[in-house]
Amino acid sequence: MSEGLATVAILMPAYEERAALGPTLASLREAARGALDVTVFVVDDGSEPALAIDHDLPRPGFAIVVARHAINLGQGAALETARNLALAGARFDAYVTMDADGQHGADDALALATRVLGGADVVFGDRFGGGSNVPTLRALVLRAARIFEWAATGLFLADAHNGLRAFSRRALERIPIQQNGMAHATEIRQRVARAGLAVVEAPVSVRYSDATLAKGQRTSGAIGILQDLALQYLFGEPGR
């Protein structure tokens, strides 16, 4: 690690992100250069073949740790594996969850980390405050989801299900993720609320492209999320 710099762990699930992963990592490296000591925990969620990472990317102050699920489990499961890895080794000053598909900006990710370095426990990105090009239908669903999230978690936030978040260590330790699929975003907020952690929101820019819209979370996926949450409520371990 680089002496004197604050340390940041980036938790990055990745599935079949062959084209986007390299540029995403490179942008993080450039954004952090000389300002933060960054370690990215990439969890390849069963891509076939396994995702390859350019060995020229790491440098002093920018490390990459790769783990691979033997089978595809879902983004929530990959995030939980990254969380386990990030909490197991060296202590970091801030922890950020970030997508690998290029939707999230490296500058935004590190800005959220900086809010944690300033004393915040939980920082959620707000895509509606940062000039994102959110498709109309997606925006409508996300607006409606705010109401559901409020009912489910008690947190009324500007943006439901934004994958760009930052945590202090004490916060991250208190939010194990049980949901393997996309319902993990609601689960994280439920755990944050239950733990009584203070939440702040920060504007971020989420960039949608044809590629990310084709591969990413579908608007119709909201039904699957509701089903997963219902099953967790019915069959999950109470209090977890």
Binding site: D56, V65, L231
Partner: protein, 124 residues
Amino acid sequence: MTIAAALLLGLVFGLLVHDWVTVRGKNRRVLWVETTVFVIGAFFIAFPERATGLAHMVGIQRGVDFLLYPIVIWLVRETLLTRRRHLEDRERMTQLTRALAVLEARAVVPRGVDAGAADAARGG
């Protein structure tokens, strides 16, 4: 016998033949259970008045209700138990997959750099 009863009996018989023919060289005990249940079902299809008689004995109006109530209760219970078992299996699979991933996690090291030294440098 009505056309519907004949068709249902044909379906039951066809399914039984299919299952006995296709499940070869395996444990066939479950087929005997299936056959027993199907024969009882076929009896009530062929002689619905017998089901109605049994229903009246226990205070139910129609024979079909006499059969339907316990079947629906059993199906709902079986669905819930199956769903729970599925989630438990998925949880085990997730934990196993995660344990392997964590065990085999490695730092990406620049070409020409010793991997052990890189791990030590990041505190791993």
